[in-house]
């Protein structure tokens, strides 16, 4: 159970992501907007020759577009053959957690419910374990749950 987790903050919440889901964490430089998109699709961004679809997790949770100055970082992930950049407020650490994932406790905010899978504890603080694929295909996940 010594899995590597990435710990990040997004939309005021501490989250943990399995490192196997992550390709890289990059600084977002420029996002080309895509008209006609739901609010959480922020646009496209080029990472070398790859084009990332930028997902604004904050907008997904709160339903409001995050202001563009507060997108310093994006987690790059390959989800079913396409490249995505999931925008987070900050990334704090990447390390193994001896205990692994713990079951959810307490009343979870409804906005997070479709995405949260478990709790991961790092240095005594709880983090919400989320799956990046869940942000892209939330319905599939809720069907499975």
């Amino acid at each position: 159970m010594n899995e590597l987790y990435l710990f990040a903050h997004v939309a005021g919440t501490a989250i943990a992501v399995k490192s196997t889901e992550i390709e890289a964490v990059v600084k977002v430089t420029e996002i080309s907007p895509v008209p006609g998109m739901p609010v959480h699709i922020a646009g496209l961004s080029a990472l070398r020759s790859r084009v990332l679809t930028m997902v604004d997790i904050g907008a997904l949770i709160h339903g409001r577009k995050t202001s563009s100055d507060s997108w310093p970082l994006a987690i790059v992930a390959d989800i079913s053959g396409h490249s995505y950049g999931l925008m987070v407020d900050s990334v704090s650490d990447i390390c193994t957690v001896p205990g692994g994932a713990l079951p959810l406790r307490g009343q979870l905010d409804a906005a997070w419910a479709p995405y949260a899978q478990a709790i991961v504890e790092n240095e005594g603080n709880p983090y919400l374990l989320v799956s990046l694929a869940g942000f892209i295909e939330p319905r599939q996940l809720s069907v499975a749950a």
């Binding site: 080309s32 895509v34 006609g36 699709i41 496209l44 961004s45 080029a46 020759s49 997902v55 396409h82």
Partner: protein, 790 residues
Amino acid sequence: MDDLLQEFISETQETLEALAAEVVAWETDPTDRDRLDAIFRFFHTVKGSCGFLNLPRFEKLSHAAEDVLSDIREGKRVADPATVSAVLAVMDRIGELAEAVASGAALPNENDDFLIQSLHQAAGPDGAEAPAAPVNNGRREGQQSPLRTIRLPLTLIDQLMNGVSDMVLARNELSRKLRERSDPDLDSAFERLSTCVADMRDAISKTRMQRVDRLFAAIPRMVRDLGRDLGKVIDLELEGGDVEMDREMVEMVVDPLTHIVRNSIDHGIELPAQRRAAGKPEAGHLRVAARQSGNQIVIEISDDGKGIDTSRLVAKAIGDGTLTSESAARLSEQDKVDLIFRAGLSTAEQVTAISGRGVGMDVVRANVERIGGVITLDNMPGQGLSITLRVPLTLTIIPGLIIRAGGQHFAIPRAAIVEILHDSNDTLSLSSVGGASIASIRGVRHSMIDLEDVLGLHKPDHAGPRTIMVVRSSSGIPFAMGVTAVENHEELVIRPASPPIMAAGVYAGMTLPDNGQPMLLLDAGGLSNAARLPNVIDDSAAREADEAVAAEAEIQTVGALRFIEITGEERLLKLSLIERVEDIDAAQFGASGGRGFVRVEGRLLPVANAHHRFEGEMVTSLRLRDGENEAYYPVARVIDIVQMPSVPDMLLSRGPVCGIAVVDGAHLEVVDAFALFASLPAEAIEEKSAGRCILADADDIWAQEILAPLLRHAGHDVVFGIPAGEAMHPDDIVLTTRADSDVETVPKGQPVVRLRSARGPGSKKDKSIYRYDRDALMAAIEAARQGRAA
């Protein structure tokens, strides 16, 4: 073990595919030892490998087939049609089993014994079956020496492709940085690197290519089986199997092609008796040919059957209520033939098992157009039908237009654009009724949308006219779309967009242009759906009548030369500008001062497209003339003389191309003759880069021995003595050593440089130059010449 099994399965499947055609060919010529051996080898290999892999059913089947074939090899049996059918059946079963093993499904449990029995019984001496017609697939040669190949996973190739794309982007960035500091050494090294990268990109994209042979592999078998089922004799000709196209493209073309071939055999080619009655040879002729034309693959399927009965098509359309009889009367012959593409129409009297499966030509056309292709029919009633498919070379590179709307850039496939005009154009009038906008272009009314409105963008205030494009989606009807401007046209590398973006329904993919800003490719059909445009054709016949009136005045065609540029694009150039086409020795081309030139008949003429280095020894060049000026235009190859509309179908005002004309269904760029001649240097290129220096004192020893060599060394032509009776060139400069030289002999206005032997000037007015002051002398010559030029 799993690896071995996997290898065995994929190898078997591949050989089966290739072999199907061989078996049919062998049937027509049972004495053909090479083919027999090839088939025998296949069964032998299967038998050998599956014994080892413990696949008893494979072993039993292949063993039986091998037995029969070896009898035939030894002459104990003849390869009659029944035997061939039985062998084919065994091959099919092996294919099914292989498929099942590959997908991990349960093996189909038909009884193999029946097949094996029929294999043995087939040897009956009845031979009553009609001999199959010869199949000429023209690929006998070189069968025995397969290419050395290895198997690669597609993902690895995609990785390579991405790597090269990264490299190109890095190269572009480097190029930008290099431009800021100009260092010729660095530039040439960089140039070399650029060439390597470009070559590499080409080579990598070739790895995705596949021979059209693969597309053809299934046809002989299909033709044979269908022919036997229907009692028709078909002489099949396959051509151009070595043409290569993108492997994904091959997959996309298989279905339409299969359908067309089936149709042709089922409905096109008649029964032998009917053919005889019609005075045709009993065996119908079916020809499938592929060739590359520019960045398109052209696949032509032609038969000599009865063609399409247009009167029946029309009757059927009227019967369905999709066409009124009065509009039918106005249809041209081609319009009538095109009715076959309407959903649910077919001329077949009865639905047969072969082609009447509810899949009509409308589906074929939709499939072809979905991949950016074009399908055209050439109907010769009673004589046959020829169907031409034109598909792009790859799925991933398409010619597109870059448009600007709402402050953003988008791409749209060029094939979807019918016409581009400014809203200030006289032929266009915009009106709106009940909230709907209508654009009437030369009397034809189109639904009008603004791209910004469809996409929910803010429409910026924009000085100057907006651009209206007439867009035709593959299935829908044309509509007019307003955008801020059309910026450019280029070949775009299209990649799929992620599902959330595709979900919007108006995008077809995305592309990453050199500037590193991702751009979305618009989907014409999706836009029309998103704008909820009425998808009703207004009476097309009446509309066409209107158009015909307008068109009479408008469609004037001019002769044009269709050629391939050295850079590979296929373009058109007005024939009247071309004096002749010549092959010129590549060594005669050169460049100076950034302009290309070519030496022809002792003169230097400008090269219009700046190419001056070539691979071959001879260069095909067009000699152009606008009445006064002449120029050469090197091309890779001249294709044909064609008629193009005098005004291109689509106007662009950028770069060397003034528009796009549609010729024979292909979109070709038209070279802008105006821009071409405008870019030429104003004066004819003089071979001497400097004018002549005329030494007035021809007898002077100093002038002969010291001045003349000095001038020659500096690149000037030297003439001794003022030429008598010959007009002097304005750039000629007279040099004289005598201060009081007889000025009368120097024509008026000719620049004169005076030299003196004294070190200091004789007087204040003396503008002569000390004769050993080299710098001053050169400067004076230069100044005198520039004084002329000014």
